[in-house]
Structure formats: structure tokens, C-alpha cells
């Protein structure tokens, strides 16, 4: 099911001194190469402890951890960590080092030569959408969102195959957060890193993860599956209640429009006669029709507006929201309910593709 495991935890347990119950209890977890696995659960579920055991910021009490086929517990911790990108919520940029020096941290530790470090820093500035002019500044001069970008750039610097991210977007405002989330997905698509991402936000976990690991108190793995599978088939009461309400909407957010069979919808070419337009409306059982001009949809008109006039003379009302095959069904639903015609139109650069209505959306969910 999953590709070659990049990280595998076998029976990993963490006991903190003075506590009766383990923080993580005999956890088995495999993360395949190129996956973006999100660890999610209520506070105290051991998700952060689990993450930090992978790079041994926290040492496990027992169990085995394999990273890239290597026994993580038998190598020097600092050697292990230089091969794993690490991003934390508080960012933890080094205040006494410039942005360029912060980004270059691991390459310097690995003793790359100066030219190679400089060109890598420039490359990362590009990748992370930072500005060259920032490089000589100190972290305190940057905004929270910029700092976290630098934090990610620093983690990527030596091009590690694995990235560990501990609630990296928890401290930035919602607008910046959703931008950073999209950037992370982009990054993951392009760089094919294996990423383990801890969050307490189930929506973030479902949005980002190729697979989601839902942990319960004491580091019990309740479910480990794709977001769609978790939503459609939650494993038990805990997962169901943790997913919260609006499960249907959350599933819609994960499914693209292209999953649904798109119908051509009630449309006619502007050169068609009014009679032909009426026939289309009758066939679809609606009192409006969409107008197509040169392969693109220009809008729609009410049946009552026709009144024997030529279609080209009418002023069509625009569909306010336009969807692409990559849009989520949640966006499609939004398009449907905000439009008087009760449909969402789908188009790409090539032009009009078809329509989606409430029924088509609902069917996907109730299948």
C-alpha cells in the first residue's frame, strides 16, 4: 500500500519519569518515501513526543526507530539530525545570526565550501519566496510569517530527504497560515520530501496529509489512513468525535470536481434560435439557459427574457464563481448555492467543460 518506508517506528514507547502512564505506548508507524504524514490528536496524545523521537530530541524508552533504513538509535544523535530537516512552532531562528547565516546552518555544520553554501542560500531564497535583501538582516527584523519561511528554508538547506515539522504554522495568523499551507503542499509536490507534520488542527491534518495518523491519549494510534478514508470510514467513536461536525463538508473539501461526472448542462450556442434554446430548457427541466460563445460560457439568461429575441442580443448574467477540474467539491458547493441558476460552471483555459449541480455533489458523498 505505501511505498518503501522512509521512517518506521516499531513498538516505540516513551515513559516520562514520575508519570504512571506512558506518553507513547508501543507505537507502530510507517511513513513511506515521499509521503506527507500528519500526526493529529488532542493535547497529551503524544504526537509531538512521537515526532521528536524520530530525530531523538526526545529519546524513546524502548522500541526501534528506523530512519532511511538505518537504526536511528545506534548513530550519533547530531549526525542523525543533520540529515533530517526540523521546523518548530516557535521557529527558533538564531537571533544572533543573519538570515543568510540561519539558512546556512546545516551546510556549515556539514562543512560545505563557501561557494556551494552561497548558491544554496540563493536557491532557497527563491524556493521560499523570500527576498535577497533580507539575507543580511537579523531574525527580529522579520514578520512572523517571514520568520517561519526562513525556518523552513533552514530545514531544507542541506536537502535532507526527511522533514519533521512540529505545528509550524500554529503561531501565525490564519491568512498567512493558509498561504504557508499551500506553499508546503507545493514544496512537497516539487521536492518529494518525506514529511511528518504535527498539528492539533484536524482540518490542517486532513488538508495537508497524504495520510493522517490520529492519536489518542497515551500515544494510541486510533487510525492511520488517507484523509478521504478517515472521513468516509472513521475507525470508532474517538475518531468520529475528533473529526467533529461537518464531516460531509470536510470530505467535499478533499475531493476534486474531476471526481464527479460532469454534465454538459443546459447550454446553447449564442447563434442558436430561441426555439432551440427553449427545447434545451425543456429537456433539462429548467427555466434558464447558459450561453456559449466560441467555446466559452458567457453567462446565463432566464427563459422569460427570451421573448422571441435573438440570443446574441441578450445580456447574460455572469456565473460569479468559476470552477476548474482541480477545484474542490466544497468550492463547487459554494458556487452552486451562491448562484441563482443553482449550478457551478467548470472551465479550464481551453474553455467550457460542463456543469455541476447539488445532486451530483451530494451523490459523491453518499455513495
Amino acid at each position: 500500500m505505501s511505498p518503501q518506508p522512509m521512517i518506521s517506528l516499531e513498538g516505540v514507547t516513551k515513559m516520562y519519569p514520575g508519570l504512571q502512564r506512558p506518553a507513547v505506548d508501543h507505537l507502530d508507524l510507517e511513513v513511506g518515501e515521499g509521503e506527507l504524514v500528519t500526526l493529529v490528536g488532542p493535547s497529551g496524545c503524544g504526537k509531538t513526543t512521537t515526532l521528536k523521537m524520530i530525530n531523538r530530541i526526545i529519546e524513546p524508552t524502548s522500541g526501534r526507530i528506523l530512519v532511511n533504513g538505518q537504526d536511528a538509535l545506534s548513530v550519533d544523535a547530531h549526525e542523525l539530525r543533520r540529515g533530517i530537516g526540523y521546523v518548530i512552532q516557535q521557529v527558533g531562528l538564531f537571533p544572533h545570526r543573519t538570515i543568510a547565516e540561519n539558512i546556512a546552518t546545516v551546510p556549515v555544520l556539514l562543512e560545505w565550501d563557501k561557494g556551494r553554501i552561497r548558491s544554496r542560500v540563493t536557491e532557497l531564497v527563491e524556493i521560499m519566496g523570500l527576498e535577497e535583501s533580507m539575507l543580511d538582516r537579523y531574525p527580529s527584523e522579520l514578520s512572523g510569517g517571514q520568520q517561519q519561511r526562513v525556518g523552513v528554508a533552514r530545514a531544507l538547506a542541506a536537502d535532507p530527504p526527511i522533514m519533521l515539522m512540529d505545528e509550524p504554522f500554529g503561531a501565525v495568523d490564519p491568512i498567512v497560515r493558509s498561504r504557508l499551507q499551500e506553499e508546503l503542499l507545493d514544496l512537497h509536490r516539487h521536492l518529494r520530501k518525506t514529511i511528518v507534520f504535527v498539528t492539533h488542527d484536524i482540518d490542517e491534518a486532513l488538508y495537508l496529509g497524504t495520510r493522517v495518523a490520529i492519536l489518542n491519549m497515551g500515544g494510541i494510534l486510533e487510525q492511520y489512513d488517507t484523509p478521504a478514508a478517515v472521513l468516509s470510514d472513521p475507525a470508532g467513536e474517538f475518531v468520529t468525535s475528533f473529526l467533529g461536525g461537518e464531516r460531509g463538508l470536510k470530505r467535499l473539501a478533499l475531493l476534486p470536481v474531476s471526481e464527479v461526472e460532469i454534465s454538459p448542462g443546459p447550454v446553447v450556442d449564442v447563434r442558436a434560435t430561441p426555439e432551440e434554446a427553449l427545447e434545451v430548457m425543456r429537456r433539462h427541466g429548467v427555466d434558464w439557459v447558459g450561453l456559449i460563445q466560441d467555446g466559452h460560457i458567457t453567462g446565463w439568461v432566464w427563459q422569460s427574457e427570451l421573448d422571441g429575441r435573438r440570443l446574441a442580443e441578450l445580456e447574460p448574467k455572469e456565473f460569479l464563481v468559476s470552477l476548474t477540474p482541480d477545484s474542490s467539491l466544497r468550492e463547487a458547493l459554494d458556487a452552486v448555492v451562491t448562484n441563482r441558476a443553482r449550478v457551478g460552471v467548470i472551465a479550464d483555459q481551453g474553455g467550457y467543460l460542463g456543469m455541476i449541480d447539488l445532486e451530483a455533489i451530494a451523490e459523491t458523498i453518499t455513495e
Partner: protein, 212 residues
């Protein structure tokens, strides 16, 4: 009331006392820094030592300087060594507290990030904790220095005193000029040394200057 010509007539002695005052300030502060490094190292490796070390330094700090000078006479005699030992002992409480506070004040996120990047324990200490502690460390050195400049004047009882010599002799001879010269120069010296340390700090910790 002020006898300006006194200053001209005693220029040479003023210069001598300046060197003496500087010597009796910088040597104890320097030795104090070295000892405090050692004590801080002990505290950082063995946390439970913090209480007893600061208690001991605190007790030293409460002993009146006159009494300490006197107590040391039977041991080392009536000389500069006596003054240096006493003055050094007064710097310890301030320095140790600031050194430890400086290291403790390094944000835990910075340390966790350093660990996560693969710093070894000692590289993390020297390249992260020490530089980041510098502002607080230097602040401690500044306070210790200013305090010592003031305390040096008391060593006049040992036949030393730096500018304290003028203050004391001015009192005895009821010569306001001498006392004022000693007092003002002592303040000037403290201020000048403080500015030197401010300059050093600005050079060593450029990141504290540029706040957005």
C-alpha cells in the same frame, strides 16, 4: 572657595592616582570575571551548587569593605594584594548571577532548533548559548565595574585609594577642592569605563542594535 591652582600644582599626583584607581578597578574585575567563569561552569554542570555559591558570594558582599580590609591585614598585609582580594570578592555575586542569568535567558526554542540542526552539546554552548548570553553577561560586568570604582576609594585606609586619597585628605585638611576633585574624577572614571563596555557590547552583539 575652589582653589583652581591646586589642580595644576598636583597634576602629577592626580595622574598617579588615576593609574592606581584604574589598576585597583580593572584587576579585581578581571580576576572576578575569571573566578565567575569557573563558578558559572560549576553551576551549569551541577545546578544544585547555585544556591550555595550565590549564598557564599552574597555573604562576602555584605561584609563592610573596611572590615574586610582590616581582616585581611594579618593574612596578606597592608598592601595592594589586600585591596585586590577584597575588591574581587565584591564582584563575584553580581558577575555569577548575571553570567548564569545570561545562559538561562537563551530562549529554549533556539536551543531546541540548534539541537534539531545537529549541533553537538559543546558546539551549541559556545556558538549559541555564550554569544546569546553576552548582553546580560556584559551588563553584569558593567555593574561590577561601576561598583568597584566606588569601592576603590575606601582602600585609602590601606594607603591606596586612587581618587579616594584626595577625598580623604580633603576631609582631613578641610580642603574642599581636593575632596571635590577626587569625587568628580571618580564619577568620571566610572562613566568612562561604562561607556567603554557599552562600546564593546555594541561591537560584540550587533543583533541587539537592529530591532525592527
Amino acid at each position: 572657595m575652589i582653589d583652581w591652582s591646586w589642580i595644576g600644582r598636583n597634576a602629577e599626583e592626580i595622574l598617579d592616582r588615576t593609574w592606581e584607581h584604574l589598576f585597583l578597578t580593572l584587576v579585581p574585575v578581571g580576576i572576578g570575571i575569571l573566578i565567575s567563569f569557573g563558578l558559572t561552569a560549576i553551576i551549569l554542570t551541577w545546578r544544585r551548587a547555585y544556591g550555595s555559591i550565590t549564598l557564599a558570594a552574597g555573604i562576602l558582599y555584605t561584609i563592610p569593605s573596611l572590615a574586610l580590609f582590616a581582616a585581611l591585614i594579618p593574612v596578606v598585609g597592608l598592601n595592594a594584594t589586600n585591596a585586590i582580594i577584597a575588591l574581587t570578592s565584591y564582584t563575584l555575586l553580581i558577575l555569577v548571577r548575571n553570567f548564569v542569568a545570561g545562559i538561562d535567558g537563551v530562549p529554549s526554542a533556539t536551543l531546541e532548533a540548534a539541537d534539531g540542526m545537529g549541533y553537538t552539546r559543546s558546539a551549541r554552548f559556545w556558538r549559541m548559548e555564550v554569544p546569546l548570553a553576552l548582553p546580560v553577561v556584559i551588563a553584569g560586568i558593567r555593574i561590577a565595574t561601576i561598583t568597584t570604582v566606588g569601592l576603590v576609594t575606601v582602600s585609602v585606609v590601606l594607603g591606596l585609594g586612587g581618587y579616594g586619597f584626595f577625598i580623604y585628605r580633603g576631609f582631613q585638611a578641610r580642603q574642599i577642592t581636593q575632596t571635590l576633585v577626587g569625587l568628580i574624577l571618580s564619577i568620571v572614571l566610572a562613566t568612562a569605563l561604562d561607556l567603554v563596555f557599552v562600546g564593546i557590547q555594541r561591537r560584540l552583539t550587533p543583533w541587539t542594535r537592529s530591532r525592527a
